[in-house]
Amino acid sequence: MSNSKFTRRGMLKTGAIAGAGVALPTIFTASSVAAYTNEPTGGSVTLGFNVPQTGPYADEGADELRAYQLAVEHLNGEGDGGMMNTFSSKELQGNGILGKKVEFVTGDTQTKSDAARASAKSMIEKDGAVMISGGSSSGVAIAVQGLCQEAGVIFMAGLTHSNDTTGKDKKANGFRHFFNAYMSAAALAPVLKNLYGTDRNAYHLTADYTWGWTQEESIAAATEAMGWNTVNKVRTPLASTDFSSYIAPVLNSGADVLILNHYGGNMVNSLTNAVQFGLKDKMVNGKNFEIVVPLYSRLMAKGAGANVKGILGSTNWHWSLQDDATKAFVKSFGTKYGFPPSQAAHTVYCQTLLYADAAQRAGTFNPCGIGEALEGFEFDGLGNGKTLYRAGDHQCFKDVLVVKGKENPTSEFDLLEVVEVTPAGQVTYPIDHPMFAGGALGTCNAG
């Protein structure tokens, strides 16, 4: 399945366990030969895809896995090549990475930071993975990113939206293609202003954990900057399944916009509950009551059904975009699996390609070399327009989509329509922005 030529800095010298060694006819690998963790020595290179396969995000994880599989096929020269054909960098030849065939192992994060680290460790220690990618929540992504930093492998983050991933918890070995809460807010604010005006009272319901807080902070700051008033910010327990007791007080709070800083199952339920309570048809202060879901997931939005109609939010990418790269990816994915890819699938596909391309350009799998190749890398042709991997925090800067629940969907996938493509310039922030302060990249670790 995989090789195991894996070494570690700080490896014990032969003497320490010589007792065990002497008794056996051993052939020792010289431990100091490898220059970095899991240096691939055979004809193949192993990547580790760590996604939620059990628990509430299992479907999202499954979609990510599909995209990884597709990316690996394309890298190995199978299939139609997908976005490799539209990618602005033409280094990849379809013969694997640096001539080595790409293999992969998968694991289950269970959407728990502990389990995710165990799974990632097993890929590094047992399967010899040289890069770990995945994640469907920020807590998991940050935890695994920390692990990869310590272990000396590259981490290509999957779906993680918290500011912290490339903010206070950023790491030299970690890279994020996905957008973040600040970007969502910056992209949404002008649209909200256009559609709903500047005289609005917003009520926040926020999932009571780190991601929810960063999103609440980002959105509140952006909306307040354009003149909105924040009526209340209410934290809801993560384990909540029924949000009615939090929605009910919104009715008489004087607010005319409800912002749901929820994701996944929480988002489905809180949105469903909000619509149940008639908030969508309500009039307050002579204005239509509005609901905003800053981070949309199309897969999950399906669970809320017709309730998403007309509700604004943002996404990293959507299959209905009309650029060549998106079309190529949707075609490639849709032909293989029979339905369009989600934004989670898209981001992990991009991350895999970006990693492979960086390795190709660097001419090595050494994480430090790859890091250098990715830092400040500008590219296009992956569905988000011109994109920059900023060197200072390893965050991608690209256009952000503002979307709205579609009124008349033609199919079960056709839930969202793109309202606006906010250009990258508007969502870019300085590295020392206070919402991202407090951490340091540190130096790259090659193990």
Partner: protein
Amino acid sequence: MDAILLQILNGLDKGSAYALIALGLTLIFGTLGVVNFAHGALFMIGAFCAVTVQRILNISFETVDPTQTDFLGNALIVKTPYLEAWFGPETGGSIIDWAVPLAILFAIPVMVFVGFAMERGLIKHFYKRPHADQILVTFGLAIVLQEMIKFFYGANPIQTPAPEMLSGIVNVGAIIGMDIVYPVWRIVYFFFSLLVIGGIFSFLQFTTFGMVVRAGMADRETVGLLGINIDKRFTIMFGIAAAVAGLAGVMYTPINSPNYHMGMDFLVLSFVVVVVGGMGSLPGAVLAGFLLGILESFASMNEIKSLIPGIDQIIIYLVAIIILLVRPRGLMGRKGVMEE
């Protein structure tokens, strides 16, 4: 004032689900003495009965519409449910619209069957085994059931809306001259739960079957000595308990879209409800269900949350601890039942 009344109403509505699940759990514990960790899974299966009925009603034939394109740019395949074709879009559409209430008819036999199968196939071997073994086996069973649902229906929530007529909101405060709007379906759910609870109680109270079961709950041996086959009746009670959980699940689907792990989300909570009410006490389970629902609603009010941060995270457990320490047999538990 409005806000408090609204939260009381909300608590009753939340409590309906707790009460129904706890009622079934207590029936099983009271009759068979089994700690059933698979009870949440029964609730979940009930909810998926609604999903299944919705899917069945939506069975469609496909036509190609060349004027539109799908995501790959091919001609769009439009699906039309047979029901709409047979009865016209109007009637067919409204039949589909009523999928959830219709699912009740589907769920009752399915759940009773599932209950029987569970009891006869597995649980009956565990009457004499320690509670720990019962927990392990029912927990294992819950995982299996849950994974089966996940395998067929996926992990994401699936929307099962209420009928158009019963969606929307109603001003329930109008009667007392106040402005308290509340979703119609949630009120339906509340009354539905009262109906089911009332049905179970009168069944136990007024039928011979029920009387025997109640006698059996109080003193199994004596009833057995009378030559009455109590085990068979208890098996039937297991089926009924499963059906109660299932109905609670069916009707819950429009409130929150069902997913495969919804049973586990309710499991711990429903055990807390049962214990607070008093192990083996049916009225206790119902009372505790509503009580905890109301307390939970109050704890989520901003005024309370600002006084005690995080109170809504722990209220249920805090109340359970206090009640168990002050009144070990729970609110309405009989003295001596699993006490000391």
